[in-house]
C-alpha cells in the first residue's frame, strides 16, 4: 500500500496543481484530506483552516484534494476528475470546483473508503454530461462510508449517481437533472444506490429522469428524507429493498410519485418493511415516457405498491393526482398469465419473490382531489368500468383514490395459488413467504385516512377493490369459471372496505460512519418520526 500511496501523490501533484499548496498540513501519514480527525501535531481538527463552506454549510478544510481548482466555466474537467478519484487514500475529501463544467466520460470510483466528494453547493457546482461518451455520470462500486454532496449532475446519458455494493452511501444536497421536457431519452435513474447497505439519501433534487428520480434497489437499511423529486417517470422508488423509511419528501409532477416495488427475477428476490410517511405526493400527472415495468405506471398516480409486502403508508399528503392517490396491486395486474408463472418466475418464486402482497397498511393520509382524469393502459379496463355502470354501484363513479386489485388475495384465499407453495425455497418459507389464505396479519388495511376534498366534492374520495378478497363474494365468472372484475367501490371514509388495522412497522436504521441516522438516530426529535 505504501507504494500505491507514493504513486497517488505523484499523480495528484501533476493532475491537480492546487493540492500542492495544501500538502503541508497533511503530514506524512498519507491521509491528506482527512477532515475532523486530530492532526499529526496533536492539534484538534477544528483549528485546521477552512478553505470554503458549501451552500449547505459543509466546511471544506485545507488539505482537501481539489479537482481542477482553476477551471473556468465551461471547461472540460474529465481528466482531472478521473485522476483525482483513482486509487484514493482512505477518508479522502475531494472537492469539485465552483461553476458549471463539462465532463465527457463516466466517472468511476472503486472501493473508496470514507470518501467525501463535494462540490460547493447544489447550484454552485454543476457538471454537464450532455456530451459524455460514457453512460452513468458517476458510479461508485464497492467501498464504504461514501458521501456525495453539494453538486449537480446534468444530462447523464444513463444513470446520474449510481452506487453499487457500497456499505454506507450518503447522498445529500445533490441534484440529478435532465432539463426540459420529460422525454424517453432522459437517461435512466437519477440517484441510484443498488445492492447497498446503510443508504442515506437526503436533501437531494431529482428532476427529469425517464425512470426513477430517486431509486433504491436491492438494498437494506435505508433512509430517504427531505428530497424533492419532480417531473420524473417515478419520483421515488424503493425496489426489492428491506428496512426503508421514506419521509418528509416531496414528489410532484412525476408520472408516479412514490413507488414501492418488488419485481421478479432479481438477485435480492424481495423486499419489505418499507415505511412511507409524512411525504407530499401531488400533481404526479406527467405522461409516462418510461419503459419496462415502470413504463406501466399510470400517469396520475400518487403512490403505488406493487407486489411488496409489509409496507406502511401514513400521514402523507396525497393530492391532485389525476388517476389515483394510492394503488396497491399484485403483480397479476402486470402479468396475468398465471399458468406461465412457474416457467417464467419459478426460480425467483423459489427465492421468495411473490406476485401477491400482504400487510400493506394505509392510515392517516390526507387524500384530496385525486382521480379527476384517470388514465394509463395498465388500468384502462378498470378505469372504463368505474366510469360506466359496470361497477358495484351501477353508475359512473369517481375513480378510487385508494385502489386495491385484490386478485392475489382472492386467489390465495380460494386456494388457487397453493401449488406455488411447493416452489418456495426453504429460506423464503422460513421468512414467512407462502401462498396460503390470508390471515389477519396479511390483510391490506386502510383506515383513519382523511378526506381532504372540499365540499361538495367530499363524496368523490373512494376506495375501490377490483376483486373482492372473499371467494364467497364472487358473483361473476367467465365461461371458464374465472372470476371477473367486480369493481367494488365505496366512499373512503366510513366504509367497510379494507377496514382493519395492522401492527406498526419498525423504523429503518442507517449506520453511516458509526453514526445512526433516521427515526432512531439523528431524527429522534423529528415530528414525522413521532407519527
Amino acid at each position: 500500500m505504501r507504494q500505491a500511496r507514493t504513486f497517488k501523490k505523484r499523480l495528484l501533484v501533476t493532475a491537480i496543481a492546487g493540492s500542492v499548496l495544501l500538502s503541508g498540513c497533511g503530514g506524512d501519514d498519507g491521509q491528506d484530506g482527512v477532515d475532523g480527525k486530530d492532526g499529526v501535531d496533536g492539534q484538534p481538527a477544528d483549528v485546521v483552516a477552512e478553505l470554503a463552506v458549501t451552500t449547505s454549510g459543509f466546511s471544506i478544510p485545507e488539505g482537501a484534494i481539489l479537482v481542477a481548482p482553476d477551471a473556468a466555466d465551461g471547461d472540460d474537467i474529465t481528466e482531472a476528475l478521473s485522476v483525482a478519484l483513482f486509487d484514493l487514500p482512505e477518508d479522502a475529501l475531494v472537492v469539485l470546483p465552483k461553476g458549471r463544467f463539462v465532463v465527457t466520460e463516466s466517472i468511476v470510483v472503486n472501493s473508496a473508503s470514507g470518501l467525501t466528494l463535494t462540490g460547493h453547493g447544489i447550484n454552485e457546482t454543476a457538471l454537464d454530461f450532455s456530451n459524455s461518451n460514457g453512460d452513468d455520470a458517476f458510479r461508485f462500486q464497492g467501498g464504504n462510508g461514501i458521501t456525495v454532496r453539494d453538486f449537480g449532475v446534468y444530462e447523464a446519458p444513463k444513470n446520474g449517481i449510481k452506487a453499487t455494493n457500497v456499505n454506507g452511501i450518503h447522498m445529500t444536497h445533490t441534484a440529478t437533472v435532465w432539463e426540459g421536457e420529460l422525454e424517453a431519452n432522459n437517461g435512466a435513474y437519477g440517484l441510484y444506490p443498488l445492492k447497498s447497505q446503510n443508504v442515506l439519501l437526503e436533501n437531494n433534487y431529482a428532476f427529469g429522469s425517464a425512470d426513477a428520480g430517486i431509486y433504491v434497489g436491492q438494498s437494506e437499511n435505508i433512509v430517504v428524507r427531505n428530497n424533492t423529486a419532480k417531473q420524473n417517470v417515478a419520483g421515488i422508488e424503493i425496489e426489492n429493498s428491506t428496512m426503508a423509511d421514506v419521509y418528509n419528501n416531496i414528489a410532484l409532477g412525476n408520472s408516479g410519485g412514490i413507488l414501492v416495488f418488488d419485481l421478479p427475477g432479481l438477485d435480492k428476490a424481495y423486499g419489505g418493511n418499507v415505511r412511507v410517511f409524512n411525504n407530499q405526493a401531488y400533481s404526479n400527472n406527467a405522461d409516462n415516457v418510461g419503459a419496462g415495468v415502470v413504463g406501466l405506471v399510470p400517469p396520475g398516480t400518487g403512490a403505488l405498491v406493487l407486489a411488496t409486502s409489509d409496507v406502511e403508508i401514513y400521514n402523507n399528503q396525497i393530492t391532485d393526482n389525476d388517476t389515483t392517490a394510492v394503488a396497491i396491486t399484485s403483480y397479476l395486474l402486470v402479468d396475468d398469465d398465471l399458468p406461465s408463472y412457474p416457467a417464467n418466475y419459478g426460480a425467483t418464486i423459489g427465492n421468495g419473490w411473490s406476485p401477491t402482497l400482504k400487510n400493506v397498511y394505509l392510515h392517516n393520509n390526507t387524500i384530496a382531489r385525486n382521480g379527476g382524469n384517470p388514465r394509463g393502459a395498465l388500468l384502462q379496463p378498470i378505469i372504463d368500468g368505474y366510469a360506466s355502470n359496470m361497477n358495484s354501484k351501477g353508475t359512473p363513479q369517481t375513480f378510487p383514490a385508494i385502489l386495491y386489485d385484490g386478485i392475489g388475495e382472492l386467489l390465495s384465499n380460494a386456494g388457487e395459488l397453493a401449488a406455488f407453495n411447493a416452489l418456495v425455497g426453504a429460506e423464503a418459507q422460513a421468512d414467512g413467504v407462502n401462498y396460503d389464505p390470508y390471515g389477519p396479519g396479511d390483510q391490506i388495511c386502510a383506515n383513519s385516512n382523511i378526506n381532504g376534498n372540499p365540499a361538495p366534492d367530499y363524496d368523490e374520495v373512494n376506495t375501490g377493490l377490483v376483486y373482492p378478497d372473499d371467494p364467497a363474494q364472487i358473483t361473476m365468472v367467465d365461461g371458464s369459471g374465472n372470476p371477473l372484475p367486480h369493481l367494488l367501490i365505496d366512499q373512503m371514509v366510513n366504509n367497510t372496505f379494507l377496514n382493519c388495522v395492522q401492527p406498526r412497522l419498525a423504523p429503518a436504521v442507517v449506520n453511516f460512519r458509526n453514526n445512526i441516522y433516521g427515526c432512531t438516530g439523528d431524527d429522534l426529535a423529528e415530528a414525522a418520526c413521532a407519527l
Partner: protein
C-alpha cells in the same frame, strides 16, 4: 508426446542459453531432450520479484519484476516485458508465454496479443471453471491493435493500447497504457479517446468509430466480483480478478512462434507452468472457437447454442453472473440484475436467468418488452442492447463503440433457435 516435448525444448533453447546470467536457478541449465522438463519450465530463468521496492528506471535483464510489484510506471517499457520495447505484439521477455482464447470478448474488432508472465519458480494452479489461479507476481499483458481489415489480421494494423493485469501481494491491479508514439506506450489513468478509427470487417463493411482506451478505474467495472452484502455490518470488499484465462477458453490449440501447434493447457502443463490439470483431459471444460470467420448458418443447433453460450459468457458473464462456482456470497457486478449468462449455467433450469420473458428492470425500451423472446429476436431487448451504440442502452457498457456484426448475428440466431416460451409469438 515426446515430439512435443522436443518442440517445447526447442522454444526454450534461447532462454536456456541466457539462464547463466539469470542465476538463482537449479544450476543445471542444460536441456535433456526428451527426458522431461526439469529446469526447463516455460518460465525458467524468467526471474522473479525480490520483495524489494522496485524502480521504473531500473535496467533489468529480464522482466522488471520489482517495479511491476510496487510501482506504477509512466511508460510501458519501464517494465521490460518485450524484447523490442516498441513491439508489444511479439517477442516477450524471457518467461512470457503468448496465449489466445477460443472465444474472446469483442473489443471493437481489435486483434489482441496476450502474454502471461509468471515468475520463475512459480506455477499456475488449475481451476475447472473459474479463472486459473495465477501466483502473486503474475503479469498478463494484452495489446489491442485495430487491423485495417479483419479478414486479414496478419496485415496492417494500428497498435492502440496495452493493458496490464498485475498480481501483487495485496491483489490484482490493472494499468492501461496507450501507444502515444510508435516507440512506447504511456500510462493512461484517465483513459484516452481516439476518434474516427476505421476498419473493414469480415462482412466487407467499412466501419468508422471512436475507440476508448478505458480509464484505470474502469477496469474494475468488469474485472471484479462483488460481495452480496449480508447485513449492515458486512464490510467485505469487491475482489479484482482476470476474466479470460479460464481453462475452457485456453483449451484450444495455439500456434507458437516456432511453428508448434499445441493445446495451450497441455503446453502450459508440460512446460511446468500449470499444475493440477486433470489427467483425464476430456473432463476439462472446453468452449468452442467462435470468431469472425465462423459461418453461423453452417452451425448445427448444438454448435450454435454452444457458440452463443460461450459468446455470452465471455462478453457478458464477467458482470452477469451469480452463484455457481463463485465464492459464496459474491456475484458479478451485474449479478443483481437477475440476468446471468455463464457458460456453465443450465439453461433449462431457469430460462429467466437468460432473460427469457423477463421484464427489463433498470432499463427497457419501447418496442422491446422482454430481454429475450425466443423466436422473436427483433423485439428482444438483449439483442437490441448488443446492436446499439447508444450508451443509455448498449451492452457491454464498456469497451465497445461499434457493433459486432458477427456476434450480434450469432445472438440473433440463438434467440431464434431457443425453445419457445410463454412470451414467444404465437405461431
Amino acid at each position: 508426446m515426446s515430439n512435443n516435448h522436443r518442440a517445447i525444448a526447442a522454444v526454450l533453447g534461447a532462454s536456456v542459453l541466457l539462464a547463466a546470467c539469470g542465476g538463482g536457478g537449479s544450476g543445471d541449465s542444460s536441456v535433456d531432450e526428451g527426458s522431461g522438463l526439469t529446469g526447463s519450465a516455460l518460465n525458467a530463468s524468467a526471474g522473479a520479484p525480490t520483495g524489494s521496492e522496485g524502480s521504473c528506471s531500473a535496467t533489468t535483464d529480464g522482466v522488471n519484476w520489482d517495479a511491476l510489484m510496487t510501482e506504477v510506471c509512466p511508460k510501458l517499457s519501464d517494465y521490460n516485458l518485450f524484447a523490442d520495447a516498441s513491439d508489444p505484439t511479439s517477442g516477450p521477455t524471457r518467461g512470457g508465454v503468448p496465449y489466445d482464447l477460443s472465444t474472446a470478448l469483442f473489443s471493437d474488432y481489435t486483434t489482441k496479443y496476450r502474454f502471461v508472465f509468471v515468475p520463475e519458480g512459480q506455477q499456475v494452479g488449475y481451476n475447472a471453471s473459474e479463472v486459473l489461479e495465477f501466483p502473486v507476481g503474475t503479469v498478463i499483458a494484452k495489446t489491442f491493435a485495430l487491423p485495417e481489415n479483419t479478414a486479414m489480421r496478419d496485415g496492417a494494423e494500428l497498435v492502440i493500447e496495452t493493458r496490464l493485469l498485475i498480481h501483487r501481494t495485496d491483489g490484482w491491479i490493472a494499468l492501461p497504457y496507450y501507444w502515444s508514439s510508435e516507440s512506447d506506450a504511456t500510462l493512461a489513468i484517465a483513459g484516452k479517446r481516439l476518434t474516427d478509427l476505421s476498419t473493414v470487417n469480415n462482412q466487407g463493411q467499412a466501419l468508422t468509430f471512436d475507440y476508448a482506451v478505458p480509464k484505470a478505474a474502469d477496469c474494475t467495472s468488469c474485472h471484479s466480483i462483488v460481495p452480496d452484502l449480508a447485513g449492515p455490518d458486512d464490510q467485505r470488499e469487491q475482489i479484482f480478478l482476470p476474466i479470460g484465462p479460464k481453462a475452457r477458453y485456453l483449451n484450444t490449440n495455439f500456434s507458437y512462434p516456432d511453428g508448434t501447434v499445441y493445446n495451450q493447457l497441455q503446453y502450459w502443463a508440460e512446460g511446468e507452468l500449470l499444475t493440477g490439470l486433470p489427467g483425464d483431459f476430456n473432463t476439462v471444460e472446453k468452449a468452442p472457437v467462435f470468431d469472425d470467420n465462423t459461418h453461423i448458418p453452417s452451425l448445427s443447433d448444438a454448435e450454435l447454442n454452444d457458440a452463443a453460450r460461450a459468446y455470452l459468457d465471455i462478453n457478458c458473464a464477467h458482470c452477469h453472473r451469480a452463484d455457481l462456482t463463485l465464492p459464496a456470497d459474491y456475484a458479478g457486478p451485474a449479478g443483481s440484475s437477475g440476468v446471468q449468462l455463464e457458460y456453465n449455467r443450465n439453461y433449462a433450469d431457469s430460462p429467466g436467468k437468460f432473460g427469457v420473458c423477463k421484464d427489463p428492470v433498470a432499463g427497457g425500451k419501447e418496442g422491446y418488452p422482454y430481454d429475450v423472446i425466443p423466436g422473436n429476436a427483433d423485439e428482444s431487448y438483449l439483442l437490441f442492447r448488443v446492436e446499439t451504440t447508444d450508451s443509455r442502452h448498449k451492452m457491454p457498457e464498456l469497451g465497445r463503440s461499434t457493433v459486432h456484426q458477427e456476434g450480434a448475428q450469432l445472438i440473433r440466431s440463438w434467440i431464434d433457435y431457443l425453445p419457445r416460451a410463454s412470451c414467444s409469438p404465437s405461431t
